[in-house]
Subunit: 346 residues, 2 copies
């Protein structure tokens, strides 16, 4: 059996409470006693039992991370590692641990969140998405547990801490970027449209079109989820339109890669025939050929700030529920070009 505080106490001829206070370096204990106890701890190889401490202190120093349903989707998307890196960095600074949900359906994830929260396994939660009809966030509100969401919540935004980009603005800027290059037929390709981030980007896209008095065509707005075969279909649909788009805004750079692949199969060259702006600026956009013009959403920072939010909130549950907007910046690479105006690429 592992050595406990009592064993140490006995050997050091002090009471367990004294040992406990030595551990927390309480100033009620003399230096002399501390030294003695510490030495005994060392000798016996004592290490605190975390669970026992948690039980009384009611603080686990752990935050739970809730992924989108389908761990597989979430994990495939290079967004995930990057946001995790940010979360992880701040957690490490503050000596917090990270606990991950593992479920692969919306329901099983929800159950895991309940287990995390009610089972008091975590002090706070970060939700990595914002989605219509999501049950996790309402649940967290009801449980009154500190949490932050990455993405813009759909309601009660004043009660919720969130970290997000200004996706409307970012998408608007991307669209205008293309418009300024002379493009008039711009398509928007999202991934799962249930997520708020996609809605925002569609809004920004449409705003820009309207602002520049371009027609908003529903046919130009498409979606496909990573990993599905839909990428091909989407491209086909767009190319069979009478007025084919000459530029695309694609909501994730993995998806952009898929699209570029489909285009190249059809001898449509990027950026000569088609301009593309992707979102996220992950490693993929840097290394693709041609390297993509991409909106850097600063995913790492998103994660970092989110964990900062929750951890601060854990420290002071009554704190003002601020939200933070992480600026985006267009990384101009080689998938965008001036529209030459012949409009015929095949």
């Amino acid at each position: 059996m592992a050595v406990t505080i009592k064993d140490v106490a006995k050997r050091a001829n002090v009471s367990p409470s004294t040992v406990s206070r030595v551990i927390t370096d309480s100033n009620k204990i003399s230096e002399k006693t501390k030294r003695k106890v510490r030495q005994v701890m060392e000798e016996m190889g004592y290490h605190i039992n975390f669970n026992a401490r948690v039980l009384v202190q009611k603080s686990t120093q752990t935050i739970g991370i809730v992924m989108k349903h389908s761990a597989s989707h979430s994990l495939h998307n290079p967004f995930f590692p990057e946001v995790l890196r940010g979360i992880s960095a701040f957690c490490h600074e503050k000596d917090y641990s990270i606990s991950l949900t593992t479920g692969n359906s919306e329901k099983s994830i929800f159950n895991e969140v309940v287990k995390m929260v009610q089972g008091r396994r975590v002090d706070g939660v970060i939700v990595l998405y914002s989605k219509k009809d999501d049950k996790v966030v309402p649940y967290l509100i009801k449980q009154n547990i500190p949490f932050a969401v990455i993405g813009k919540p759909l309601s009660e935004t004043n009660k919720i801490m969130y970290v997000d980009n200004d996706n409307v603005q970012a998408s608007k800027e991307a669209t205008e970027f293309l418009i300024k290059l002379g493009h008039q037929r711009i398509s928007f390709i999202g991934d799962d449209p249930e997520f708020q981030v996609i809605q925002d980007r569609i809004n920004g896209y449409q705003e820009a079109l309207k602002l520049h008095e371009l027609e908003v065509t529903e046919d130009y707005i498409k979606s496909f989820e990573y990993g599905t075969a839909n990428g091909k279909q989407v491209v086909e649909e767009l190319l069979s339109l009478p007025e084919k788009p000459t530029a695309m805004i694609i909501s994730a750079d993995v998806n952009a890669l898929v699209v570029m692949k489909e285009l190249s199969k059809r001898d449509i060259y990027v950026p000569k025939d088609m301009s593309i702006i992707s979102f996220n600026n992950t490693i993929i956009s840097q290394l693709s050929t041609p390297p993509m013009t991409s909106i850097d959403t600063q995913t790492y920072q998103l994660g970092y700030e989110a964990s900062k939010c929750v951890i601060e909130l854990i420290g002071d549950p009554e704190m003002f529920k601020r939200s933070v907007i992480i600026p985006t910046v267009i990384e101009n690479r080689e998938t965008t070009a001036i529209y030459k105006g012949n409009g015929k690429y095949n």
Copy 2:
């Protein structure tokens, strides 16, 4: 305060122990009582306090994941999400939680492992790498905690459960694949050579060369870590060799992408001028242009099997320490071609 077992007991007019037994659905409790107690639990919104249970049962149903030093490296590599997905899948099946290390130096990771293990926060551990002079594995052995490593341990392999590809073999096959295409000057580019996986692959590579009576040239063996600027340098070094390589085996497909980019800058075409085989077959190799011939290491399976190992080991600490080898398969795509023999590509 949250509702406890005692509150439920009081309200249901039973003893706490009865409630506890209802929770575990013990057959010592009558159906009638169970129904009554369950209803009260429902009414009061009872949920078990996990930490209290852990304290007495000494089982956390959590496994800890140890990443390479530098979370950033680990997370950037698409290997990580994929292996995590596999781990996560099995953990979910068995109702285990996942706890992640967050440290970014070898030392801080080690400390976190100690905290996890001695603090009894995890029942078992998965180490995502095997590395020379690593202190984590020896520590885990000493602590006698169930663990598995992904990769081949450097010593005491009989005492350690591990899950790995046969990297020697895989690399040998890759090399022979290229040899059969007529290549004679084949370069091997690894990432961090401290990791056993790279050593194994180098060995396999050299074995194949020897088998086919090709010269083993140290100059052809290079390494660079993802994210560093070294990719460029490595390519330059190889190209400035008097006998330039005509094919490359690259130990991670992100790295292959970097190399391909550098080659294309120098107007060296893949596969016409240079054949490339990468390792891992992540999404990157599928979507790159041209799509890469890649060794599928079945990363997901690696993770899945590893968690299976630990979880079984947790169930029976005395079990036979088997190891599992996940087969690899060459995914033949478009970065490899027959060597034309003129040997001049620039």
